[in-house]
C-alpha cells in the first residue's frame, strides 16, 4: 500500500528485471506465491510494470496473460507510480453516515484531482477505499501509512499541508 517512489512517471530502473527475478525466485516456494510476489515487487518499486509481469510469469512457469489477469483483478496493484503521498478516503457506508462523501468532494477540490489520479506535480495520489475497520470513528482517511479518524475538512487541510 505504501509507496515511496520519488518519480511521478514510470522510469526504467536499471537492474529492475534482475531484482524482480530475485524476489520471485525467493518467494516461489510459497503456496500460491503469485500474490505475495506481486506485493513484494510493489513494496520495493511502488508499482508493477508490464516488464515485471513477464519476468514473474517466467519464474512461476505461468502464461504472461495469467499474471496480467491477476495484476489487473486486484485494486492494490498499480501499473504506474503513485504520487509522493497517497491519501485514501473511506467511502463506505459507515463513513458516509458521517459525511465522507462531502469530505471527498472537499479533498478533490483542494487537491485538484479525482479519485485514482495523481496531482500534476506528483505530490498526492487520491484514492477511495471501502472501509478501514474504523467505522465508529469516521470519516476515516489514510495519509501515507497513517490512519486518521474523525477527519473534518479543516483537519484534512492540515493533513494535506503536512504531506509535502
Amino acid at each position: 500500500m505504501t509507496s515511496e517512489v520519488v518519480a511521478a512517471a514510470p522510469v526504467p530502473v536499471p537492474g529492475r528485471a534482475q531484482r524482480v527475478r530475485e524476489i520471485a525466485e525467493e518467494l516461489r516456494g510459497l503456496r500460491g506465491a503469485l500474490i505475495p510476489i506481486l506485493h513484494a515487487v510493489q513494496e520495493e518499486f511502488g508499482y508493477v510494470d508490464p516488464p515485471d509481469v513477464a519476468v514473474i510469469a517466467d519464474v512461476l512457469n505461468l502464461a504472461v496473460a495469467e499474471v496480467h489477469g491477476v495484476v489487473t483483478f486486484y485494486k492494490d496493484f498499480r501499473r504506474t507510480a503513485a504520487g509522493r503521498t497517497t491519501v485514501a478516503i473511506c467511502q463506505a457506508e459507515a463513513c458516509r453516515a458521517v459525511g465522507a462523501v462531502e469530505l471527498a468532494e472537499h479533498a478533490k477540490r483542494t487537491v485538484g484531482c479525482d479519485f485514482g489520479e495523481t496531482t500534476y506535480d506528483g505530490r498526492i495520489t487520491l484514492e477511495e477505499i471501502y472501509c478501514f475497520g474504523n467505522c465508529a470513528l469516521g470519516p476515516t482517511v489514510q495519509v501515507g501509512s497513517k490512519l486518521h479518524g474523525r477527519v473534518t475538512p479543516t483537519r484534512l487541510n492540515t493533513l494535506l499541508g503536512e504531506s509535502r
Binding site: M1, L30, R31, G32, A33, L34, I35, P36, L38, H39, E66, G69, V70, F73, Y74, K75, D76, F77, A92, E93, A94, C95, R96, A97, V98, I129, Y130, C131, F132, G133, N134, C135, A136, L137, G138, T140, S145, L147, H148, G149, R150
Partner: protein, 569 residues
C-alpha cells in the same frame, strides 16, 4: 527524561470524593494510598516520583499504564499519548494493549490500582502532563476520569467470551496470555479424540460468524470424515463489510486466541497447514498477527510438536489485495491459490474440495476465536447463552453516526434498539436516528419502527434482513436513502467478480434505473421504473451465483420498502 513542571490540572476535581466526578460514576473513586497499591510512596501530586525509577537502582515496581495500540485508537492519537506517557512516567511501564471497544472514549488510558484498572478517556497528548501532575498515575479523580473500567455500565452489561482478553492483555505477551486463561481450550482439546472435539463444537451450537451462520461443528465433521493426504484450515479475515471491525480488533488485541482456535480446528479435522487471509487495508493487524505467529512458534504453540502432544500444525498469513469479493469463501480460496478472485460454483463444497483441491475448513475470525472458550468451558456453558437457534454470544459492532460507537459482545437476543439506543446512545449528530443498516453493505436498511427486532439469525431473516457479521451502521434523519440504494448497486458493480450476468450487468442496470427514478418528470415513468427495479432485484436474487449479486437487492428493496418517500423525484 526531565522532570515536568506541573502545568495546571485540566479539570480540578477534588481527589478522594467518591462518586462526584466523571460521566459514569458506577463505583467509588479508587483512593490513592490504598494498602495494596504497588506504588506506595509515589502518592504526592506534582512531579512523579516514579520517573527516575527506570535507569537507577531497582526501585519499587512502577505503576503500569495501559494505552491501546488498536488502529482505531491510533487513528485518534493513541501513539502520541503513549509517547508522552513514556517520556513522563516510565517507558517500560507503558503497556500497549488492544482496545476495550469503547471507541468513543479513545484514546483511553488505564492505570493499575489496588482495586483494578482506572480509566481516563478520551485523553489527548496535550493533556498528559496535567493529568500526571494531577495524580493520574495514582488513580486520582482528575480530567476525564471514568472510574474502574470493568465497572463501567457499558462493560458490565456485556458478556465477553470471545473478546474476554481484548483490551486487557498485551497482545504479544505469551505470559499475559497464559495468565489470562490462554491455551486452556487447546489443552482440553488435545486431551480428547478429534471426533470428540468436533462433537463439542456441534453441541455448542456455534454458527459461522462470517455471515451465513452455518453450524461450525457440522462443517468440521465433513472435513474430519474426508479422506485426503493433506487438509487445510483457512481463516477468513477479509472483513470487507463496512461497519464491521471485530475481526480486526480481535487480531490486533488478542491474536493468540485466533492461533489457538485455528490449532484446535486443525487438530479436530486432521489439518497440517493453516492460512489466514487478511485484507491489505488492515496493515496493523497483519503486523500483529505475523509477530504473534513467530512468538507462538518459539513457544511451541505451533510447529511439529504442539505442547509436546506430537500433533503438528503450522500457520501462515496471506495478505489480500483490495477485492471485496475475496471475502466470499471460494473466491478467497482462488486468491490464496494465486489467482483472480473468481467465485467457484458449489458443489463441490470447500469442506471436500477446498484449497488446492483438498478438504478445507473455511471459518471467519470470530468463529475460530470463539473455539478456545468453548473447549475450555464446555459446549453446554456456551450454548446456555443466546436464543432459539442463535446460541452463544455475538460481537456486535456499532458504527456510523452513533454517539457511543464500539464493540458490544452479548448473548444473541438483545434487541436492535437496545444496541443502538442503550449502548450506542443514539446518533453522534444529536439528530433522530432514521435508519440502520445491519450486516454490512449487503444487509437491509431498517427503520426505527423495527428496533424491537431481537438479534437472532431467524428473526432477522423473517424480517427480510440479516445479522451478517454483526455490524450496525447508524444514519440520522439527513440520510438520503435513494442515494444509499444507488450506492449499493454501485458497490456491487465495482466489486462484482464478473462471472455471472445477473450480478455483473444487473448492478450497472440498477444504478441506471435508480437514476431514472430520481430524474423522471412524469409520474408514470417513475412507477414503471420502480417496477423494473423490483424485477431486476428479483432476477439478481434468484439468478446470481453467489451472495454478492444475490444479496445486493436486500439493501435496495429495504430502502424502497421502508423509505419509499426518498424515491420521489
Amino acid at each position: 527524561m526531565t522532570h515536568p513542571t506541573p502545568p495546571p490540572i485540566p479539570t480540578p476535581t477534588p481527589t478522594g470524593a467518591p462518586g462526584t466526578a466523571g460521566p459514569t460514576t458506577a463505583t467509588p473513586a479508587p483512593m490513592p494510598g490504598d494498602t495494596d497499591a504497588p506504588t506506595a510512596g509515589a502518592q504526592h501530586t506534582g512531579a512523579p516520583a516514579t520517573s527516575f525509577g527506570n535507569s537507577h537502582a531497582p526501585a519499587q515496581p512502577t505503576t503500569r499504564v495501559f494505552v491501546p495500540r488498536d488502529s482505531a485508537a491510533r487513528s485518534v492519537g493513541a501513539d502520541e499519548v503513549a509517547e508522552r506517557l513514556a517520556a513522563l512516567h516510565d517507558t517500560s511501564a507503558v503497556v500497549r494493549t488492544g482496545s476495550r471497544g469503547m471507541l468513543w472514549l479513545e484514546p483511553l488510558v488505564e492505570v493499575e490500582t489496588g482495586e483494578g484498572r482506572v480509566g481516563y478517556g478520551p485523553v489527548a497528548a496535550e493533556d498528559v502532563d496535567g493529568l500526571i501532575a494531577g495524580g493520574m498515575i495514582e488513580g486520582a479523580v482528575v480530567g476525564p476520569y471514568l472510574g474502574l473500567v470493568d465497572e463501567l455500565p457499558w462493560m458490565k452489561r456485556q458478556q465477553r467470551l470471545t473478546f474476554q482478553r481484548v483490551g486487557v492483555v498485551d497482545p504479544l505477551s505469551t505470559t499475559d496470555y497464559l495468565a489470562h486463561g490462554g491455551l486452556t481450550g487447546l489443552r482440553a482439546a488435545l486431551a480428547m479424540d478429534p471426533a470428540e472435539v468436533v462433537e463439542t463444537v456441534v453441541d455448542s451450537g456455534l454458527r459461522g460468524r462470517g455471515g451465513a451462520g452455518f453450524p461450525t461443528g457440522i462443517k468440521w465433521r465433513t472435513v474430519l470424515n474426508a479422506d485426503a493426504d493433506l487438509k487445510f484450515v483457512c481463516c477468513n479475515a477479509d472483513e470487507g463489510d463496512s461497519g464491521t471491525y471485530a475481526d480486526r480488533m480481535l487480531i490486533e488485541g488478542d491474536p493468540f486466541t485466533l492461533i489457538e482456535g485455528m490449532t484446535i480446528a486443525a487438530y479436530a479435522v486432521g489439518a497440517a497447514e493453516g492460512y489466514v487471509y487478511l485484507r491489505s487495508e488492515y496493515p496493523d493487524a497483519v503486523a500483529t498477527l505475523k509477530a504473534a505467529i513467530e512468538l507462538a512458534r518459539a513457544a511451541g504453540w505451533l510447529g511439529p510438536d504442539i505442547l509436546g502432544s506430537g500433533f503438528g500444525f503450522d500457520l501462515h498469513v496471506r495478505v489480500g489485495a483490495g477485492a471485496y469479493i475475496c471475502g466470499e469463501e471460494t473466491s478467497m480460496l482462488e486468491s490464496l491459490e494465486g489467482k483472480r478472485g473468481m467465485v467457484r460454483a458449489k458443489p463441490p463444497i470447500p469442506a471436500l474440495e477446498g484449497l488446492f483441491g483438498r478438504p478445507t475448513v473455511v471459518n471467519n475470525v470470530l468463529s475460530l476465536a470463539t473455539i478456545p472458550t468453548i473447549l475450555a468451558n464446555g459446549a453446554a456453558a456456551y450454548a446456555a447463552y443466546g436464543t432459539g437457534r442463535s446460541l452463544g454470544t455475538s460481537v456486535f459492532q456499532l458504527g456510523g453516526n452513533v454517539a457511543r460507537g464500539g464493540i458490544v459482545e452479548t448473548a444473541f437476543g438483545i434487541t436492535l434498539g437496545e444496541l443502538v439506543n442503550d449502548f450506542g446512545g443514539g446518533t453522534s449528530s444529536g439528530r433522530p436516528v432514521r435508519a440502520v443498516q445491519v450486516g454490512g453493505p449487503l444487509g437491509a436498511y431498517l427503520p426505527v419502527e423495527q428496533f424491537d427486532l431481537p438479534m437472532d439469525y431467524e428473526a432477522f431473516a423473517a424480517a427480510g434482513a440479516m445479522v451478517g457479521h454483526g455490524g450496525i451502521v447508524v444514519f440520522d434523519e439527513t440520510v438520503d436513502m435513494a442515494a444509499m440504494a444507488r450506492f449499493a448497486f454501485e458497490f456491487c458493480a465495482a466489486e462484482s467478480c464478473g462471472k455471472c450476468t445477473p450480478c455483473r450487468v444487473g448492478a450497472v442496470r440498477g444504478v441506471e434505473t435508480i437514476d431514472r427514478i430520481l430524474t423522471s418528470t412524469a409520474g408514470t415513468d417513475r412507477a414503471q421504473n420502480l417496477v423494473l427495479l423490483e424485477d431486476l432485484c428479483e432476477l439478481m436474487t434468484d439468478g446470481s451465483l453467489c451472495a454478492m449479486g444475490g444479496l445486493t437487492p436486500m439493501p435496495v428493496r429495504s430502502a424502497v420498502r421502508h423509505f419509499g418517500e426518498d424515491f420521489q423525484a
